[in-house]
């Protein structure tokens, strides 16, 4: 069975004297990035992601890395792409308006197969929306936010320890699949201070990137294989392009080459969903209702499941940590015996439509808010009951 990250909410500590700190999710992201070997960061100030930028500017040089405040979001992600192709492990952080400006370069990262971690600290949209107001409105946007519709990976933490663990995981997956990986968080998860057991952070030790010093920069035979990276200044000269290219990085319109490249961009991720799927399953025997949540809404969802059980109501819970690709195998396990799925989200049902697509005959019900307030425990309990 596919395992999610250990459910930190359900863990019990056996430590006699608790070892706790009081931190926010942004701090956990910065620590996760540094522990994952991040050496380059570029970002542009935007609420509620600025905390990550400021901390990276302060912390990254301490490990010999480089952190830049770009002249805008386009420059920031552009610098990350250049630095990664020169051997750096890069991250950037922004919010919805910044993702809009990243859009074209997200495509370059997909096309050129550039590992890059992109943190989206969601705020209420559309447009500048509510800078200090929580929302989960970017859940489809990050998936489909660049031309072409090619797959990306999106992870969503629901707590401070998950913010750390999933940042590390994001780097691991970006390296593994040579693609942009989004860490989709939000104003509350990034900025809420929480007591955290310091022993709850997982060990982070990512191996150095496999690079090669000569030969063609790309290969897509077999289609799902990911070629080791070439880096500028290491070994022979090589080419990179954001345009449709052959294995040598030369622009091509040859249909066989074009098709092979594009099928590769899909297959390398879609054929390896099992390496990406992460769902925190909290299943109860005999339950017919499943509360399925992600990100900040998982807080109320977990509390609602707890409360309902204390009232004798059988209910299962699932917190999706890998939003894209949709973790269909893990969710298939969660759906067993379930006839109703309740999906609370701070949007009008953006992820629910994906659940509906794979839920078969099951009833899929939303609990939704777009007014900047969190969904309460009672609101979920009412719908389940």
């Amino acid at each position: 069975m596919i395992q999610g990250l250990p459910s930190l909410q359900h863990m019990t500590t056996n430590i006699e004297a608790p070892r706790r700190e009081y931190v926010d999710g942004a701090t956990a992201i910065v620590r996760g990035a540094i522990d994952a070997g991040c050496t380059f960061f570029a970002g542009y100030p935007i609420t509620p992601a600025s905390g990550i930028l400021m901390a990276m500017m302060r912390e990254l040089p301490k490990v010999g890395g480089i952190a830049m405040q770009g002249e805008d979001e386009i420059a920031s992600i552009g610098m990350c792409l250049g630095a990664t192709m020169t051997g750096a492990r890069s991250m950037t952080a922004t919010s919805g308006p910044g993702i809009s400006l990243y859009s074209e370069n997200i495509g370059v990262a997909v096309m050129g197969e550039v590992p890059l971690v992109i943190v989206d600290v969601q705020r209420l949209g559309p447009a500048t929306g509510g800078a200090t107001t929580v929302a989960q409105g970017d859940v489809q946007f990050v998936r489909w936010g660049t031309a072409g519709g090619y797959p990306v990976i999106v992870l969503a933490p629901s707590s401070v320890p998950e913010s750390y663990a999933l940042t590390v995981k994001a780097f691991e997956l970006a390296e593994r699949f040579r693609c942009p990986v989004f860490l989709l968080t939000d104003k509350e998860i990034a900025m809420t201070l929480s007591a955290v057991d310091v022993d709850h952070y997982p060990e982070a030790a990512l191996p150095a990137r496999v690079e090669k010093d000569s030969g063609l920069p790309y290969s897509w035979e077999p289609a799902d294989a990911v070629e080791p990276m070439r880096h500028y200044g290491y070994g022979d000269a090589f080419r990179f392009t954001g345009s449709t290219h052959d294995e040598g990085g030369y622009i091509t319109k040859n249909p066989a080459k074009v098709g092979a490249l594009n099928e590769h961009l899909i297959a390398k991720i879609e054929d390896h969903r099992d390496e990406i799927e992460m769902v925190d399953l909290d299943l109860e025997a005999g339950a017919h209702t499943l509360v399925l949540s992600y990100g900040v809404t998982a807080g109320s969802a977990r509390a609602a499941v707890r409360q309902l059980r204390s009232e004798g109501v059988a209910v299962s819970g699932a917190v999706v940590q890998s939003l894209w690709p949709i973790p269909e195998t893990a969710l298939g396990v969660a759906f067993d015996g379930i006839d109703r799925i309740v999906v609370p989200e701070l949007n009008m049902g953006l992820y629910r439509r994906e659940i509906d697509r794979i839920a078969g005959d099951r009833q899929v019900v939303g609990v939704n808010r777009i007014d900047g307030r969190l969904i309460t425990v009672d609101e979920i309990v009412e719908v389940v009951r």
Partner: protein
């Protein structure tokens, strides 16, 4: 004895002919770049040519160096990342006047930063690849496919723009310049940002639409006030090197890591408790809430605080929702606080939903202004004027929260005192804590 003869590279070009139109100046400019790299005896594996979109974006494919071919107008951003990651590389940007326009902010920022890249603008005064539309450098009156009656905009002076903004090396010339290769060498060898604005003829469009010639181009430069030649030549430090030098002293120092807060007290709280403080931004509301949480953690409790405020910094409301709990709990909104402290008009403006949800077992602490507020909760008015000393606005939140702790007793007050003493502004905070406790006890 064996002798090894090192032959300098005779060309950085591939064998492929350029794809440019007959008479186009792009090929000659690239030939001068090739000559420059030969003169410098560079290692092609240590050179990255960064290009973007348009006819100029075809250039990199004709060199044996490394290449990064990216988005329209963004070549400078990639080049910056490459140079930052490895300052030993020679990074050359080839872009057109189109890319210069769409990426104008990158041009200015790269000049200000003096990142050590060399930008060659192949400036043919219009968009050659997409049908001869006008660009930011199209002269006033210039006829293009999008200015059929003549351009109404003033042309961008690329050199002046980067020059006044700090660029180390700025040269304007044309594809016909005999010494262009030497100018490129000088730019590439110059520490800091170098830009060569190299005008050339677009024989497909601009030349045809405007009867534009080599002589006309050279005359035009002067008549438009855009003098050719070496325009700026400054001594500056290169950014990527400068960044490393500036941070050298902190490399290897510890990064922010988890530091456990000691648990020295025992809490009495045996159920989750929520406290909300509703005040004004600039009143240290979040810091006050944080100290209450830290006192709880020092007593073995779990804590979490969710803060709400507008985009403004020191105006508007500031509301902090704080949970204290004996067991770890998921993050949820506070709907019915056990304690609500209203300490300003801004705070009262946000208190409505809490007040209407609160019941007889809950407690409201308020400033005298709201003594008559409507709620089912118990209301306790605390008059800050009754304190022995005047309470600063920035201590109000902590005073009321300390009073709330003194009245509800979830954990020992000494834990709060220790937390206050351990942090920054300890003197002011300790005084606020004692004031709050005194106001609660005297009541």
């Amino acid at each position: 004895m064996n002798t090894v003869t090192i032959t300098p590279i005779s060309t950085f070009r591939t064998d492929d002919p350029y794809p440019f139109c007959p008479g186009c100046g792009h090929g000659p400019i690239l030939d001068r770049l090739n000559e420059a790299m030969i003169k410098m005896d560079l290692d092609p594996a240590k050179v990255v040519i960064v290009s973007d979109i348009g006819c100029s974006g075809l250039s990199d494919q004709y060199f044996i160096t490394s290449a990064f071919h990216g988005l329209h107008g963004r070549s400078i951003t990639y080049a910056t990342g490459i140079k930052l990651a490895n300052p030993d590389l020679d990074v050359v940007v080839i872009m057109g006047d189109g890319g210069t326009g769409i990426g104008g902010t990158h041009l200015i920022s790269a000049a200000r930063r003096n990142i050590g890249i060399t930008v060659i603008v192949m400036n043919n005064l219009n968009f050659g690849m997409t049908g001869g539309q006008h660009s930011t450098t199209t002269p006033e009156g210039g006829v293009t496919s999008t200015t059929p009656l003549g351009n109404l905009e003033h042309p961008l002076d690329i050199c002046a723009t980067v020059g006044v903004n700090g660029a180390a090396y700025v040269y304007r010339g044309s594809s016909f310049d005999k010494d262009l290769a030497d100018r490129i060498v000088a730019g590439m060898q110059k520490p800091g940002f170098a830009l060569l604005d190299v005008w050339d003829l677009c024989t497909a469009y601009y030349v045809r639409s405007n009867k534009f010639t080599r002589a006309g181009m050279e005359d035009s430069m002067r008549s438009w006030g855009m003098e050719p030649g070496l325009l700026y030549d400054r001594v500056t430090s290169e950014y990527a090197t400068g960044y490393r030098a500036a941070h050298e002293g902190i490399v290897g120092t510890p990064t922010m890591s988890a530091r456990p807060i000691p648990v020295e007290f025992e809490a009495t709280l045996n159920h989750p408790m929520s406290l909300v403080v509703a005040g004004s931004a600039g009143g240290k509301i979040r810091s006050a809430s944080r100290l209450i949480a830290l006192g709880g953690i020092r007593s073995g409790l779990w804590a979490a605080q969710r803060d709400d405020y507008p985009v403004t910094v020191k105006s508007g409301h500031s509301v902090s929702e704080l949970w204290l709990a004996p067991e770890e709990m998921p993050l949820t909104a506070v709907t019915q606080p056990d304690v609500l402290a209203i300490i300003s008009d801004d705070g009262y403006g946000k208190a409505g939903p809490y007040l209407s949800a609160m019941t007889a077992n809950d407690l409201v602490l308020t400033i005298p202004d709201y003594a008559d507020l409507e709620t089912d909760a118990q209301v306790v008015v605390i008059d800050p004027k009754s304190a022995e000393k005047r309470i600063p606005k920035t201590s109000m939140g902590l005073v009321y929260l300390a009073a709330a702790l003194a009245m509800t007793g979830p954990y020992p007050l000494d834990a709060l005192r220790v937390a206050a003493a351990a942090g920054s502004f300890s003197e002011v905070n300790l005084e606020a804590v004692e004031t709050g406790i005194a106001l609660a006890t005297r009541r």
